[in-house]
């Protein structure tokens, strides 16, 4: 039996339905939460109120839209950091560590270039951040290629390592004097400040450019062809004369560079590197990548969606008195439905595609397998 290649509509069905189901499930939780609200009784309309204020907060006015874009910017990049890896059959859980590396390196660059003009300081800090992230990505790629150590394990360990190393350095070597808490000196002219009275900053452009670049890389270049071939069938790639080990290291470095850029943008926006740089953008990248089906434009859309929820959440908390944490709940439920794609297909009686390994299969498939090449 012969079917057409999977269309874009086909790609969008499961993510869209997962979002819908997640909103429905979250409604139940929101209704339940009304019991602990000020009125202490079930309010069946609360989910509608909450979702309406969420929408108003994220897309209601120009400022809201700007906040949505700013919140989506790092998510796009960490989404790419996970999504491009999945294309090569690699599950990069190390975006968090790569983000911290990128952010820390960018902050030091900013400190170093304090006197320089923003036109030099910002690109330089972003570039150094990317390189630092790429290094953090290269390490698990190298370990996988030459020792077979699974990237899920090594990246998780690296996350902890980077976190403690960097905060140790900030607490000690790079601690700036005169502040009540441990942090680095200001990044000076490298700081990404808002323009036109909003939070929009120049980093947004860098992130947006990465989307078409990764699309071009994956589908229009021979390098991307190798990445996808290694991801879809490493033994066939080897047979065809490709070098899967090299491709794995390269892909992990590219992923790290995206995450590093995300971290650099976030830190430069803040203006300094705090000893404990708490951010969830690394792990959120997994949701973004899976929701976007590892397609760069899908990643852009899902980053905007998640960014909108983050941007709209404060207004929702004020207007509907639903805690902002519900966003994490919704995001988690989306991830569950995406992971349980088969459940979504059952609920909506969709036919299961015959061929092709989805991104989730890549995650489980390579575990414990010998690396070829």
């Amino acid at each position: 039996m012969i079917s057409r290649p999977r269309s874009y509509v086909g790609l969008l069905v499961v993510p869209a339905l997962s979002i819908l189901l997640a909103l429905l499930v979250a409604s139940v939780i929101i209704i339940a939460s009304s019991l602990i609200g000020p009125e202490k009784k079930i309010n069946l309309l609360l989910p509608l109120v909450a979702y309406r204020s969420l929408l108003a907060g994220s897309f209601g006015n120009f400022k809201g839209i700007a906040n949505t874009i700013v919140a989506a910017t790092p998510l796009m990049l960490t989404g790419l950091a996970v999504g491009v890896g999945l294309k090569a059959g690699l599950f990069n859980i190390g975006a968090t560590g790569q983000v911290l590396m990128g952010g820390f390196a960018a902050s030091l660059t900013g400190v170093l270039l304090t006197g320089a003009s923003p036109w030099i300081a910002i690109p330089a800090a972003l570039l150094v951040g990317m390189l630092a992230g790429a290094l953090a990505g290269f390490i698990p790629g190298f370990l996988k290629a030459f020792t077979g150590a699974h990237e899920v394990v090594t990246t998780i360990m690296l996350n902890a390592l980077v976190q403690l190393l960097v905060s140790g350095l900030v607490n000690d070597v790079f601690r700036a004097p005169g502040f009540s808490f441990a942090r680095t000196a200001p990044v000076g002219n490298a700081e990404l400040t808002g323009v036109a009275g909003t939070n929009l900053h120049f980093g947004v452009i860098f992130a947006l450019v990465c989307i078409p670049i990764s699309y071009w890389l994956l589908w229009r270049t021979t390098v991307g062809f190798e990445i996808r071939a290694v991801g879809a069938n490493p033994t066939a790639a080897l047979y065809a004369g490709m070098k899967p080990r090299r491709t794995m290291m390269l892909t992990m470095s590219i992923c790290g560079a995206f995450a590093g850029l995300a971290g650099a943008i976030e830190v430069l926006r803040l203006g300094y590197y705090p000893a404990v740089f708490g951010t969830s953008i690394g792990f959120d990248g997994i949701t973004v990548a899976l929701l976007g089906q590892s397609h760069p434009f899908g990643i852009m859309l899902s980053a905007l969606l998640l960014g909108a929820m983050r941007a709209g959440a404060p207004l929702m908390q004020i207007q509907a008195r639903v805690p902002v944490e519900i966003i994490d709940v919704i995001q988690g439920i989306i991830l569950i439905f995406l992971a349980a794609e088969i459940v979504v297909r059952k609920i909506f009686r969709l036919r299961t595609p015959q061929e092709g390994t989805g991104e989730l299969q890549t995650i489980t498939r390579t575990y414990g397998e010998k690396v070829v090449g």
């Binding site: 012969i2 021979t222 066939a236």
Partner: protein, 538 residues
């Protein structure tokens, strides 16, 4: 057979129709099998043989039609029901647990209990021994299945069915994993079973086999019965035509070869297996331009390692591989390819194709980085598409579009994609590993013709196949590989002798090896039993 006052056949399938979305897998199929009959079911892959047997075994419910056992209509609910009614299935891939004994494997799922808690092992052993005696292949119930040869493992599968009191035995391509000698032996077993009154359904797409073993042959094509024949009244050509629906050239015109200088030379090659054992031991030979050198051998005798060392997928542990006089032993896969080495891998889905990729991408899988398919690192989609269209037409790949996923093609068309990719280059030497495994007659014919044409263009071809007939049909010279060594190198047809080569494959030309684990009451010699059971990986 006494068919004076004929009793109803043991099995009748009447008007069986099974539809799947978009296809009619079985269209009003009639099949009857008498007691003591060996009935062959012949058809290409996808003809509907498996669906019919799934209906019989309760794995699929027919949309129309009925099944009668001894003249009584029955409804078969599931495999357990089928077994209870005396239907036994021996799958191509054995369902055995290697670490358990013969008796334990047979008991699994049909436990003979002494009391509600404990097995009655003694009674089970007694019954197994008795069954073996009755059907002429006595076996030690305490032998570990993993230590048995493939041929004996198959007999354990048959015993499993007989232990469950099967009266109708279905064997799905039983000879696919056997050597010619083992095939002869299993045929003897089947004849004995039939003589004892068993009904046997023998599924195959090998023509000479069904002619040899069957009492009657039913040919299925595209879900319909196209004819039932008796072996004495038909021949291979007629069966092939029935099967394919057109006249088929079974033996391609090999013509005469004009071998020239050696192109691929192997000298004292040693290769280790994944487990570190010496899989290829000091092998030397050379393939000349314009000839086909066939390597015959039972799967798992070092052929895979040999090919991997030649193509660069595996490092050799000693010796050299040279291509047109240049030592390529340490070259990468890509360097070898660029120097004119082609390779059609044995496992087409694992090595040959990226199933999720479109056909066009698979057709450039090895050349994607070259002009005109790429300019710098940028892919040239138009050139790739044009190339794909041309290949699809030239190699008769049946697909609605060059953009369809390779995974959606039939096995034969998948292999054509690989052949199109590898054959569409100027090659010095070409390695063909099991080029027609699992393919239907039509595709086999096509691929054999292409191979001959490539040979006549002056390419040196190394053919590795577990099918001795394929080796005999195509090869100008034949090397026999046994336990990592080339034990014989002989000329191809007409001088090659099938029996002789078969014996070399099984024993390496040495004195008959050890006896079967029970001491061999069957009187047949058995090949060494520690041979890695690698058989079918497709």
């Amino acid at each position: 057979m006494s068919v004076a006052q004929s009793p109803p056949p043991r099995l009748q399938m009447r008007g069986i129709t099974k539809r799947y979305p978009g296809v009619v897998a079985n269209n009003h199929i009639d099949l009857d099998v008498k007691a003591g009959e060996i009935h062959a079911l012949l058809g290409e892959n996808g003809a509907g043989k498996t669906t019919l047997m799934n209906v019989l075994f309760g794995l699929a419910r027919p949309d129309e039609g009925e099944i009668l056992l001894d003249g009584q209509p029955v409804q078969i609910a599931d495999p357990a029901d089928a077994i209870a009614r005396g239907i036994g299935m021996v799958h191509q891939h054995f369902m055995l647990i290697p670490v358990l004994t013969v008796a334990e494997n047979i008991l699994l799922g049909a436990e003979t209990m002494a009391n509600p808690i404990f097995l009655d092992r003694r009674e089970a052993r007694r019954r197994i021994t008795e069954l073996g005696k009755r059907f002429g292949f006595e076996i030690d119930p305490d032998a570990r299945v993993g230590s048995l040869s493939v041929g004996w493992q198959q007999r354990v599968e048959i015993l499993k069915a007989l232990y469950r009191q099967a009266r109708i035995l279905v064997l799905d391509e039983p000879t696919a994993v056997l050597t010619p000698q083992e095939t002869v032996e299993i045929f003897a077993v089947l004849r004995r079973l039939a003589a004892e009154g068993q009904s046997i359904i023998f599924i195959s797409h090998k023509l000479y086999e069904v002619l040899e073993i069957a009492d009657r042959i039913t040919v299925i094509r595209r879900g319909e019965v196209v004819g039932t024949r008796q072996p004495s009244q038909t021949n291979e050509d007629e069966l092939a035509e029935l099967m394919v629906g057109r006249e088929v050239q079974l033996a391609v015109e090999r013509g005469t070869s004009h071998p020239a200088e050696p192109v691929l030379t192997i000298e004292n090659l040693k290769v280790r297996s994944d487990r570190g054992q010496e899989a290829v031991r000091d092998v030397s030979f050379s393939v000349r331009a314009g000839e086909i050198l066939g390597i015959a051998g039972v799967a798992g005798n070092g052929q895979d390692e040999l090919i991997e060392a030649i193509t660069g997928l595996r490092r050799s542990a000693g010796g050299t591989v040279s291509l047109t006089g240049q030592d390529i032993t340490s070259w990468s896969v890509r360097e070898r390819r660029e120097h004119g080495l082609g390779y059609v891998p044995g496992d087409r889905q694992k090595y040959g194709l990226v199933l999720g990729f479109p056909i066009s991408d698979n057709l450039v899988l090895t050349q994607y980085y070259n002009r005109p398919f790429a300019r710098g690192i940028q892919r040239e989609d138009a050139a790739i598409e044009k190339w794909a269209r041309d290949r699809i037409e030239q190699f008769d790949i049946r697909t609605p579009s060059w953009a369809a996923s390779a995974g959606n093609l039939s096995g034969g068309n998948q292999q054509k994609v690989i052949v199109a990719r590898e054959f569409s280059r100027d090659l010095k030497a070409l390695v063909l590993d099991q080029p027609t495994r699992g393919l239907d007659v039509g595709s086999i014919e096509f691929i054999h013709k292409q191979a001959i044409r490539k040979r006549d263009d002056g390419t040196g071809i190394l053919l590795v196949s577990a099918e001795l007939d394929e080796i005999l049909e195509l090869s100008d010279r034949i090397a026999v590989m046994y336990r990592g060594e080339i034990v014989a190198l002989v000329d191809g047809r007409p001088t090659a002798n099938k029996e002789e080569i078969g014996l070399l494959m099984a024993t390496g030309g040495r004195a008959p090896a050890e006896q079967p684990p029970n001491g061999g009451t069957s009187g047949q010699t058995e090949t060494a039993t520690d041979m890695p059971v690698k058989g079918a990986k497709s």
